[in-house]
């Protein structure tokens, strides 16, 4: 269906892609308005009874195929009864042997969950954290690393330090999650679990963008931010572009913060008047999920700092030989120094283990983070939670942190045979680092109806110091 398209453009499109089915125009967008959340692509599955079975922004082939397959296997009337709210105490724990709690990922969510559980559980319960990286990285500080305000060693901590706190750490890649037989496999071992917390984050996929390695510097990993810092140090003027290649991406504020920090960096270096800074993003406004007021406030700040903003930039490709980026149907844009956010996908192991839903991410109960598999929870960036306004809860460390606390409490209650009452309420906050020692802060309830209720507190020095203190606290408290 082509919203705001004509019969001719739909026909052309059908021919161009040799589609074996009809493409119907929705010239005035009536059908789109009635059925969609306003984003494209938008996919809707209608059952034979004419009722909506599911919808998603995006089209994730694997996720959809899995859902459709399941529908055929289990006709709706034969589906199992929903699980009881309180499950039985796991057998191992019931036998007095203690429970095996396995946490996948030692990022924001996994780290907090391990800590909470270790503090409250007895020594006979094992807490095993698996991460392929030897270090925990405090990702928000990558932006400071990019502009030379942090060294790499200042924003990482060895995960092996957790062993001092009684958490077992396995520094290996997880290659399979078998939710049914309650086992996780790494390259060298199989580990049984009574409870599993999946906090594997989002996998960055620069390899999905042709020419990325030749032309772009990855704003979202340590190697990339080190290169950005070196490139900025030797930058003597030209065009800097901050590009969001695809949605969703973690930390909706990050591209804006990056541009503002770079602006401040170039000004202090004395090359600002010889430079242009551009932000290219498929979003229609900054931080769309937080509402129009927030978007306007950020746009104003960008304008004041002479940063060119290109919303609705649906990135299509980059051409390293010409140093250009191109949006679909648009003119090439020349960029001398390109800082890019690569596409994000659910981690390969989650996909290959059949744990993704139609969104392409793990689906959970929005309040308990429980998945459809008994004893398996998914927290942080790896899950996809739909909000009342039809958009998704942003991927942010603050949510991974709070969700981890909720899941830890619920597991604790289950082990103790008590009703699990802890729930995630959708509250969160986010700093917006502006450079020059100033930051703004947005805080609110993302589960509010009909829209998230988020308030932006104006830029001030104390918010910046709040962010610095939080970083210091984080890296000391959990290690």
């Amino acid at each position: 269906m082509g919203p705001f398209e004509t019969s001719e453009s739909c026909q052309e499109w059908k021919e161009e892609y040799e589609l074996p089915f009809d493409v119907i125009p929705d010239e005035d967008g009536t059908i789109f308005k009635k059925l969609s959340n306003g984003w494209v692509p938008y996919t809707l599955l209608v059952g034979s009874d004419g009722k909506v079975v599911l919808w998603e922004s995006e089209f994730e082939e694997e996720g959809f195929a899995a859902v459709v397959e399941k529908l055929f296997q289990e006709p709706t009337d034969a589906q199992a009864e929903p699980e009881a709210a309180v499950r039985a105490v796991p057998q191992r724990a019931g036998r007095g042997l203690g429970a095996n709690i396995v946490i996948l990922g030692g990022g924001a969510g996994g780290l907090v969950a391990a800590h909470h559980l270790r503090r409250k559980l007895s020594g006979r319960d094992r807490i095993i954290l698996i991460d392929r990286s030897p270090n925990h990285l405090f990702q928000s500080s990558l932006l400071w690393h990019a502009v030379g305000q942090r060294r790499a060693d200042q924003i990482q901590r060895p995960l092996s330090d957790l062993t001092r706190k009684g958490v077992e750490f396995i520094n290996e890649e997880v290659v399979e999650i078998d939710a049914a037989s309650r086992q996780v496999r790494t390259k060298s071992q199989a580990i049984d679990f009574d409870f599993l917390i999946v906090s594997l984050g989002a996998q960055l996929r620069p390899d999905e963008v042709e020419g990325f390695d030749e032309m772009a510097l990855n704003l979202y990993d340590l190697e990339g931010t080190a290169k950005i810092n070196a490139a900025l140090d030797s930058f003597s003027g030209g065009t800097v572009g901050v590009l969001v290649t695809d949605m969703p991406f973690k930390c909706p504020a990050a591209p804006y913060e990056a541009a503002l920090l770079v602006e401040s960096f170039l000004r202090k270096k004395g090359v600002r008047d010889r430079s242009e800074i551009h932000i290219y993003t498929p979003e229609h406004q900054p931080m769309p999920v937080t509402g129009t007021a927030m978007g306007e406030a950020i746009t104003k700040v960008l304008h004041k700092r002479n940063i060119q903003y290109h919303p609705l930039f649906t990135f299509e490709k980059m051409d390293p030989s010409e140093r250009t980026i191109i949006k679909s149907g648009g003119e090439p844009q020349k960029v001398d120094l390109l800082l890019a956010i690569p596409p994000h996908r659910a981690p390969e192991v989650v996909r290959s283990s059949g744990l993704i839903g139609s969104s392409g991410w793990m689906h959970t109960d929005p309040h308990t983070m429980a998945t459809e598999h008994e004893g398996v929870y998914a927290i942080g960036d790896v899950n996809s939670i739909r909000l009342a306004n039809g958009k998704n809860l942003p991927m942010a460390g603050v949510f991974a942190h709070y969700e981890a606390g909720v899941v830890a409490e619920r597991i604790l209650a289950e082990i103790e045979g008590k009703p699990a009452t802890a729930t995630f309420n959708g509250k969160g906050y986010c700093w917006l680092e502006l450079g020059d020692g100033k930051a703004g802060i947005a805080s609110g309830n993302f589960y509010a109806e009909p829209e998230p209720a988020v308030r932006l507190y104006p830029p001030m020095h104390p918010w910046h110091w709040g962010k610095v203190l939080f970083e210091k606290w984080w890296l000391r408290h959990w290690f």
């Binding site: 984003w39 692509p41 996919t43 009722k51 909506v52 969703p248 979003e283 649906t314």
Partner: protein, 40 residues
């Protein structure tokens, strides 16, 4: 992915889609997959 009409909220699962009323083909073959897509 891009936004073309921010005011929309999507439809809840279980909502009856008035296919006739919207001029959409009836789902006679067990179901209907509708993908909204925009060329540019």
């Amino acid at each position: 992915m891009k936004v073309i009409d921010e005011g929309n909220k999507g439809v809840a699962e279980g909502t009856l889609v008035p296919l006739d009323e919207l001029g959409l083909p009836p789902s006679t073959t067990g179901g209907l997959l509708i993908v909204f897509w925009k060329g540019q």
